[in-house]
Amino acid sequence: MKKSAVGSVFALLLISAVVLPVFLSSYQWPVTARDHLELKGVEESGATNLVSAIYLGYRAYDTLGETIVLLVAVTGTIGILKKAGAVLEDRHSFALPGEMRRANYMRTHLLEAVTSKLGPIVLLFGFYVMLYGHLSPGGGFQGGVVVASGIVFLALGSSGNASSALIRQDMLGRIEAVAFLMLLILSISGIFTGEGFLDNPLKHYSSLPAAFIIVLNIIIGLKVGAGIGVMCIIMLGKE
């Protein structure tokens, strides 16, 4: 047996001994948080979907951190890919003879026809998921990812020329930057209206208690959609 394999087995045994008790612990799951949310959650946050209530209400600060992780990852990934140079030479190109496109890997007319028709529908569905996140399963992040796949569909179906402004990198970058700034301004605005950081600044102006969550959902959705969309487009090898 090789020395490195012995090391691996040794490490695996040690780690399994350490984590096994945590995995198998059968201590009664705590109910305090659940009971509080079941009683007061809708009243306090205005959202029927309690996961959304936690995600954008009780623990919105975590969500802010999470969008920042995404923003940094997108910026960094794009930077690294650009630094590494053009895409790899593809030996299994599906390009049809005579096509003059740069980015023609793994593409047929079939794919193109289907994705370009589906793209707008997927976008619409993404906005639905985004807007109804406080009532039903979904929310800004989930909706944003659906929007991003809509953008990818549009990019796949664009036959090499940018038929929609939505698949241009600079346009997506602008949407992302503006959405990030608006997200920050919304989080901070509570400090100046006297509510406090990340407290609902619309409390006294809107009859809809979930208004703040809805606005946050839309902004996060736009930011996530634009960010993941631009990352996928760059990974596709689009100019």
Partner: protein, 112 residues
Amino acid sequence: MIERLLLFLLFLLGFWGILAKHNIIKKIISLNLINSAVVILFVLEGSRIGNKAPILEEGIAGIVDPVPQALMLTAIVIGVCVTALSLALAYRLYKAAGTFNIEDIRKEVSRK
């Protein structure tokens, strides 16, 4: 009990992949495996105190704990971000060294 044992095995499988596989793409996939094992464990155990989804329509009672679901949503997104970044790094390493084998990459990089 059996679910938790299976998740434990999934976790070990992922850890083994990170430890012993030489291909960096496999290492990245293994990282996703251990992340998933913990995420599933958290959500699964959090659902033991109820049997309804935490969407409080009229007449719903006995919901599962919504806190783990919200937390794991964050953890999943962070996992995706780390994966995207590590794949980009793997791509750059492949361009620099012409291989995905971690030991060969180390040799190639230290030679340059």
